[in-house]
Amino acid sequence: MNTGGWIVMILAVGGVTGMLSWCIYKVVATPGSTEHLHSTADIESPDIEEDEKLD
C-alpha cells in the first residue's frame, strides 16, 4: 500500500465514520427525535390495518 492509498483509506473511512458520528450526535441532541425521525422500517402503511378491519 502506498502513501496515497493510506491517505485515501484514512479520508474515506474517517469521513464516513465522522458523518455517522455527527448524525448520532444530532439525533441524541435533538429534542423530540423519537417522535420526529423515521426510517422505512418504522413507517407503517395504513393498508395493513385497513385489511385487518375488513377481515
Binding site: M1, G5, A12, L20, W22, V28, P31, L37, A41, L54
Partner: protein
C-alpha cells in the same frame, strides 16, 4: 406540542431511533455488492467516482426522494405513478412511474436468491458443514457448485448430497418467508429487528474486520498475499499505472459507481418515495435521511470495503481479480476462508450469514411495498389480493434467475439493467422532477418542513444543476461507449455484444420488457380510475 414542552426522552429510546434508522439502510448491497464492484474496477480507481457520486448524487437525491414522497402523500397519493401525477400535471407523468414499480419488483427476483445463499451458508455453519479445509479454492468451488455456476439448472441439485444442500430449496424457503410475512402484515416486526439485531450484525462485522486486519500473510509460499497489499489493492491510487487511467476513463465504471450509491442508499429505487408518502407533513426527513445514508456508508466503506476485498486478495491472490466476476459472489468465496482462520469461526460464520439473511429479508419486504401500493391505490384491490398477484409475478422471475444459473447470467443481467441502469434513469428523472418541475425552491420548502437540521443552500444548486448534468453526461458517455465504440479488449464484451451472443441475455431483457408492459397497463387502468374519481368529485361539488 412545542419542543420545550415535550417530555424528556430516555437515552435508550433515542439510541433506538438511531439504530432503527441505520438498520433499515443496511443490506446485501453493503457487504456483498460494493466489494464485488470495487474488486471488479481496480479498487482505488473505483473509489473516486464512488465518493463523487455519494456527495453530489447520493445524499442530495435521498433528500429529493423523501421530499417528493411526502409531498405526494400530502396530495393523497401513495404509489409512485400517483405521486408523479401530483407533482407533474402532464398525462405522461404517471407512466414515468413504471420504473419505480418494476425496479424493486425485479430486484426482488434475484435478491431472494442471494437471501437463500445467506440462509444456506448460515445453516451449514450451524451444523458444522462449512469446514472444508485450508485451501481457498475449495470454498470457491463449493460456491460455484452450490449456485449452479457451471450449468443451467444445476442449482436444483444438492452439490454434495447434503439433504439441505440445494440452492433452489433455500430460495423457495426465503420466498415463502417473505410472502408469509407480508401477506399476514407482520412487517411491524421489522422495526424491532432493525433496532436490535442490526447492531449485532455490525458488531459481528467489526469482529471479522479485526481478524482480517490481523491476518498477515496466511497462505504458505505466497508472502505477497498479505494484508498491506490487500489494502493497497482496495485503496491505492496508482496514477503511474496505465490500468488506473484505463479504469478511470471507463464510463461503465462511473455508471456502476453511481448505481451502487443509489442501490445501497435505496435512492431511485421507488421504495423511499412510497414509504415517505405515509409520513406526517411535519415529520423530519432531512436528518432521518442523512442518518440512514451515514449508517449505510459506514457499513459499506468502513466494514464491507475493509473486510471482503483485502481478504479476497490475501486468500485468492491478485490473479483472482483478473477473472470476470459476478458482483455478489465475492463475499461467499472469501469469508469462509476468514472464518476458517479465526477462533470460534463456525459460530461467527453462522451469526454473520444469519444476520445478513435477516437484513436481506427486511430489505426485500420493503421492495414489495411500491407495487402493492399501486395495485391497491390504482386498481382498488385489497392488500392480500395485491400480495397474491405480486407473488405470482415475482415467482416467475425468481424461477428464471435460479434455473438459468450458468455464470449467474440472468442475475447479472437483471442486476445491471434493472439494479444499475433503470435506477440511474429513475434517479435522473426524479432529480429533474424535483429541481425543474416541482421547482427547487418549492421542493426545498417541503424538505425543510419539520427538518431537525438546516440543509445548506448550495444543495439547491447541486440538485438543480450539478446532479442532473453529471447524470446526463455519464449516461451519454456510457451510451457512446456501449453502442458506438469498438471494445479495445476482445475479452471485455459490451452489452450489445452480450445481447447478440447470449440467448439467455436476450430472454432476460425480453422478460424485463414484458414486466414493464404489464405494469404500464396497470398504470393506464389506475389513471382511468383516478380520472373517474376526479370527475365524480367535480360533479359532486356545489
Amino acid at each position: 406540542m412545542t419542543r420545550q414542552n415535550r417530555p424528556k426522552e430516555a437515552w435508550g429510546s433515542r439510541l433506538g431511533v438511531i439504530l432503527a434508522v441505520m438498520g433499515s439502510a443496511v443490506g446485501l448491497g453493503n457487504f456483498l455488492r460494493f466489494p464485488g464492484l470495487a474488486a471488479q474496477y481496480e479498487g482505488g480507481a473505483f473509489m473516486i467516482p464512488y465518493f463523487i457520486s455519494l456527495l453530489i448524487l447520493g445524499l442530495p437525491l435521498a433528500w429529493v426522494e423523501w421530499s417528493l414522497g411526502r409531498y405526494g402523500g400530502s396530495q393523497g397519493y401513495n404509489s409512485t405513478p400517483g405521486i408523479y401525477r401530483a407533482v407533474w400535471k402532464n398525462p405522461i407523468a404517471p407512466y414515468c412511474g413504471v420504473l419505480a414499480i418494476i425496479i424493486p419488483v425485479m430486484i426482488y427476483m434475484f435478491y431472494v436468491y442471494i437471501e437463500g445463499w445467506c440462509l444456506a451458508y448460515s445453516l451449514r455453519y450451524l451444523f458444522g458443514q462449512m469446514n472444508l479445509g485450508d485451501k481457498p479454492a475449495v470454498y470457491e468451488n463449493f460456491f460455484n457448485n452450490f449456485v449452479g455456476m457451471n450449468k443451467d439448472g444445476a442449482a436444483i441439485l444438492s452439490p454434495e448430497g447434503w439433504p439441505l444442500g440445494s440452492a433452489v430449496l433455500f430460495t423457495a424457503a426465503c420466498f415463502v418467508i417473505n410472502f408469509v410475512l407480508i401477506y399476514r402484515g407482520l412487517a411491524k416486526g421489522i422495526e424491532w429487528f432493525c433496532r436490535w439485531a442490526m447492531p449485532l450484525l455490525i458488531i459481528c462485522a467489526i469482529v471479522i474486520l479485526i481478524r482480517v486486519l490481523t491476518l498477515g500473510a496466511p497462505i504458505e509460499g505466497h508472502p505477497e498475499q498479505n494484508l498491506t497489499n490487500g489494502l493497497g489493492y482496495m485503496w491505492n491510487l496508482d496514477v503511474t499505472k496505465e490500468a488506473f487511467w484505463v479504469s478511470l476513463c471507463n464510463p461503465q465504471m462511473w455508471l456502476e459507481a453511481a448505481g451502487q450509491i443509489f442501490f445501497s442508499l435505496s435512492v431511485g429505487f421507488g421504495i423511499v418515495i412510497t414509504y415517505a408518502s405515509y409520513m406526517k407533513k411535519d415529520d423530519d426527513i432531512a436528518l432521518s435521511s442523512l442518518t440512514a445514508s451515514a449508517g449505510n456508508e459506514f457499513c459499506e466503506v468502513a466494514l464491507g470495503g475493509l473486510i471482503i476485498v483485502p481478504a479476497a486478495f490475501i486468500f485468492l491472490g491478485k490473479e483472482f481479480f483478473n477473472k470476470p466476476q459476478d458482483t455478489f459472489s465475492l463475499g461467499f468465496k472469501t469469508l469462509p476462508n476468514v472464518f476458517n482462520q479465526m477462533p470460534y469461526g463456525q459460530a461467527v460464520g453462522f451469526l454473520f450469514f444469519f444476520l445478513l439473511f435477516l437484513a436481506a429479508v427486511t430489505s426485500s419486504l420493503s421492495m414489495l411495498q411500491p407495487a402493492i401500493a399501486l395495485l391497491e391505490e390504482g386498481l382498488g384491490l385489497r392488500r392480500k389480493a395485491s400480495v397474491a398477484i405480486l407473488g405470482f409475478i415475482t415467482a416467475v422471475g425468481a424461477a428464471l434467475v435460479v434455473f438459468f444459473s450458468k455464470n449467474l447470467m440472468v442475475l447479472d443481467t437483471l442486476n445491471f439493467w434493472v439494479g444499475t441502469l433503470c435506477i440511474f434513469v429513475l434517479a435522473t428523472f426524479q432529480v429533474i422532477l424535483f429541481g425543474w418541475v416541482l421547482g427547487v425552491d418549492r421542493g426545498f420548502e417541503e424538505l425543510s418542513r419539520g427538518a431537525e437540521i438546516r440543509i445548506p443552500r448550495f444543495v439547491k444548486f447541486i440538485i438543480k444543476y450539478v446532479s442532473p448534468t453529471y447524470l446526463l453526461v455519464i449516461f451519454g458517455l456510457w451510451i457512446n461507449q456501449q453502442f458506438f465504440t469498438a471494445s479495445e479488449d476482445p475479452e471485455v464484451l459490451t452489452w450489445p455484444q452480450k445481447i447478440q451472443q447470449s440467448p439467455v441475455v436476450q430472454m432476460t431483457l425480453g422478460f424485463i420488457v414484458v414486466v414493464i408492459i404489464l405494469f404500464l397497463l396497470l398504470i393506464a387502468q389506475s389513471v382511468r380510475r383516478w380520472r373517474a374519481a376526479e370527475r365524480a368529485e367535480t360533479e359532486a361539488a356545489p
